[in-house]
Symmetry: C2
Subunit: 407 residues, 2 copies
C-alpha cells in the first residue's frame, strides 16, 4: 500500500486560498482508516486503551453536573475549578503555575494550533524533529513555513547540538517543537541533560519552545516514588518564560472529551483568547464541569496508576516479543512511558510496501515511518508500533506474525 502525501484535487471552478490548493492529506489518518479492518490486529492507531476508559465514573460526573449546574449547557467562560485542578496536576509534574496561567483548549491539538497562529508568520521558520508528530505539521502548513529539521537519538531524544547549530548559524525560528516525554512516534524521552541545554538555548536566543506533554503523565513507575517528583521534569519546570507547555486529558482520561490546556505567559492570555475564540468560541462548559467533577471525586490518581501498570505490561510483552522474533539488524526504542515503540530496519526494508502483506496475509497492522517524516526525510525503513490498545494476550503472536513479513 503506497499512500503518499498526495495533493488533493480541488472542486471545479472554486478558487481556494493559495495554501489550500496545494494542501496535502494526512498520510497517518488515511492509513489508520485503511488498516482498521475487522479481524486485523492493529498496532497502528495511536489509541489509548478503550477497555480502560473510566466510562461509568465519567457518566456519573456528567449526570451530576447536568442535574446540579444550570450553566453546564450554556455558553460560559473557562471554568475556574478545572483550572485549579490542572494547576495541581501540573505541580505533580514539577511545574509551578497558578490556576490563572492555565488556558483551557479543545484538546492539545487546539493548543498547538493557537500557539502556531500566534507565533508563526507566513514563510517563517520552525524547528521540528525529522520524525515528528503529524499534527504539528498540519498546524503549521497554512503558514507555509521553512521547516528546519534536527535528528533524534533513539535513546536520548532530540539532537540539541543540531538545534544549537541552527540557532548559532542564524536561524530564528518562531518556535522549537518538542515532545520531551514518550515522543510520538519514537517513544523516546529527552535526557535530563538535554532538557537543561535546550531551555538554555531558548533563553539565550529568546526562542519559544512548544512543549507537547501529551504523554507526560504516563511515565511508568512514577507513582511508586512515594511522593517524590520524578527526576525528569517538563521543560516548563526549568524555564517558565520561554516554554509554552501543552497538556491533554486525551491519554489519561479519554480522547473524546477533546479537553486539553496550555501553560503560557499570563500576559499572552488576551491574545490566546482571541485566537481560540476565532477557532471554536470556547471549550464545552459541560465537559469542563464534568471533568472537574471527576477530579473532585479524587478518582484520577488511581486511574492513572492503573493505566501506567497496564501500559507497562503491554510494553513489556511487546519488547519481549521483539527480542524474540525481530532480527538483530533491526533497532527499536525501549520507552519507559507512553504508548509507542519505533523500529528501524536496515535501509533496504520497505515498510510501506510490506504493510499490504502484513494486513492481507498476517492480519496485523502498523504505521510505516514515512507517515511521520518531515519533508525530505526518508523513513521508509521504519515503522511505529502502538501497544496501548491491544489485548495483552495477542501482542506476542502479533509481533511473531509481523516478523514473518518484515524480517
Amino acid at each position: 500500500m503506497r499512500i503518499e502525501s498526495a495533493a488533493i484535487p480541488s472542486a471545479p471552478d472554486l478558487l481556494l486560498a493559495d495554501w489550500a490548493r496545494t494542501m496535502r492529506r494526512s498520510v497517518l489518518r488515511q492509513m489508520i482508516a485503511v488498516v482498521s479492518q475487522p479481524g486485523v490486529l492493529s498496532f497502528a492507531g495511536g489509541l489509548p486503551a478503550a477497555d480502560l476508559f473510566p466510562a461509568a465514573d465519567y457518566a456519573q460526573a456528567v449526570a451530576y453536573v447536568l442535574e446540579s449546574d444550570p450553566r453546564a449547557l450554556q455558553y460560559s467562560p473557562p471554568y475556574p475549578p478545572l483550572k485549579a485542578h490542572i494547576s495541581h496536576l501540573m505541580a505533580q509534574r514539577g511545574v509551578t503555575c497558578a490556576a490563572e496561567d492555565i488556558f483551557i483548549t479543545t484538546g492539545a491539538q487546539q493548543a498547538l494550533n493557537v500557539l502556531a497562529q500566534m507565533l508563526l508568520n507566513r514563510g517563517g521558520q520552525v524547528v521540528l524533529e525529522e520524525i515528528v508528530y503529524t499534527g504539528i505539521q498540519q498546524v503549521v502548513a497554512p503558514m507555509q513555513p521553512e521547516i528546519l529539521t534536527v535528528p533524534t537519538d533513539l535513546e536520548t531524544g532530540m539532537d540539541v547540538d543540531a538545534v544549537a547549530a541552527l540557532l548559532a548559524g542564524g536561524a530564528r525560528p518562531a518556535f522549537i517543537y518538542v515532545i520531551p516525554e514518550a515522543h510520538n512516534p519514537l517513544g523516546v524521552s529527552l535526557s535530563v541533560e538535554k532538557r537543561y541545554r535546550l531551555v538554555e538555548l531558548a533563553r539565550h536566543y529568546q526562542t519559544p519552545i512548544v512543549e507537547d506533554d501529551a504523554y507526560g503523565f504516563l511515565i511508568y513507575g512514577s507513582d511508586r516514588q512515594n511522593g517524590r517528583l520524578p527526576q525528569r521534569q517538563p521543560l516548563r519546570a526549568l524555564e517558565p518564560d520561554w516554554v509554552f507547555y501543552v497538556g491533554s486529558f486525551s491519554k489519561i482520561l479519554a480522547p473524546a472529551l477533546r479537553l486539553g490546556w496550555m501553560a503560557a505567559p499570563r500576559a499572552l492570555t488576551p491574545k490566546l483568547t482571541v485566537v481560540k475564540e476565532a477557532g471554536d468560541l470556547e471549550t464545552s462548559a459541560l465537559t469542563q464541569r464534568a471533568v472537574a467533577r471527576y477530579l473532585d471525586e479524587g478518582l484520577l490518581p488511581d486511574h492513572v496508576a492503573h493505566l501506567r501498570q497496564a501500559y507497562q505490561q503491554r510494553r513489556d510483552m511487546m519488547l519481549a516479543a521483539l527480542e524474540l522474533y525481530f532480527p538483530r539488524e533491526a533497532r527499536w526504542t525501549k520507552p519507559d512511558a507512553g504508548m509507542f515503540i519505533w523500529v528501524e530496519f536496515p535501509s533496504d526494508v520497505d515498510c510501506i510496501r510490506l504493510l499490504d502483506a502484513a494486513v492481507a496475509t498476517e492480519h496485523v497492522a502498523y504505521i510505516p515511518g514515512h507517515a511521520f517524516a518531515a519533508p525530505g526525510v526518508d523513513a521508509s525503513h521504519c515503522l511505529r508500533l502502538s501497544f496501548s490498545n491491544c489485548p495483552p494476550d495477542q501482542i506476542a503472536d502479533g509481533i511473531r506474525r509481523l516478523a514473518r513479513v518484515l524480517c
Copy 2:
C-alpha cells in the same frame, strides 16, 4: 463604559506573528463579561434560554451511549448516524443533501473558521454587512483581509444591490458572509426576493456564499404549517454549488455541546478534513453519539416547537414594551425568528456612554451597537437587545427602566 477594540499589548521580548501583534480584543466578549453582574437584568448576552435546556434528556442520552458504546470515549471518525440525522434536519429546512455531504464541526464557529482558512488568502477580499456577527470578524482577522461592507435594510436584510455593485465594480471576494435568518445582531431575515438575487450573483460571479443558519430552526410558527415547508428557504436550497451552509445545535439544543456542521461541495471534504484536523483533530465522539441518541429518541421536534413558542412569547413582550416605553424617534426590528432585536436611536444618542448608567442605575444591560460594527462603521447610536434568556415577567419592566436612561 467605553470598551474599545483596543490592541492588546504583547508579552515582553516575545516576537509574535505580524497579525498577532496588532490583534484586537472582541469588544462583545469583553462587554458581556463586564455586564454579567448579579442583580443586573441582562438583555446583553446572545444566550439561549437556560431554563429550556433539555438537561435531563441529554443526561439520559449520554448515560446510554457511555454504557452501550465502547467507542464513545475513543478517537473516532465523524459518526455516520449523526450525519444522517442532520441530513434529515436539513430536509426540513428545504435543503436536499446526502448524509455524506454533512461535515461535522466543533460548533458553527469552527465551520466558519475552516471555510475562511480554505477560501481566503492573506490580504484577500470578503463581503460583510456593516453590522455583522463578531465571530466572522475574528475568523478572518489573521488573513488581514480587505473587508468590503454592504448596508442592511432592517426589514428585508442585506443590501443585495450593494453586493451587485461591488461585484460589477470588479471586487472578487473570497466569499460573501450572510445570516439570512434572524440576523445576529439585527434580528432581520433576508426577503425571499433578495435570496434569489443573491444566489444568482454567486453563480454569475462564481463567488461562494457562506450562509450562517444558526437561527434557521427558530422561525416562529414554522411548526404550525402542517408539514409544508416555510416559504423562506435557506440559500443552500436555492444554490447547492456556491452556497456553503453552516448549521449549529447551539441554539436548538445547547451551546455547551459545541456541535455544528456544514454542507459544502463533497469534492471539498478531503480539504475541509485537513483544515479541521489541524484545528482540533476531531469533534467529540461522545457528543456526536449522545446527540444522535437524543435525536433517535425523537425528542427534538417537540423541544424546538417549545423553544419557538417561548421565544415568540418573549419577543412579543419585548416588542410591546418597546412600543410603550421607547420614543417615536427610535426604530427597531420586528424579528419573526431567533433571539435578537436591534434598536436605532437618533445619531446623538450615545449607547456606549449610556451603558454605564443603565447598568449602575437601572440594573439592566444591553450590547451597544459598535460591538458589531465592521471597521469604519459608526453604530454608537444603536444597540442589541436579546430576549431569549430573560424571565418573561421581567422583560417589560426592564425595557421601562432602559427607556429612563436612553430616551
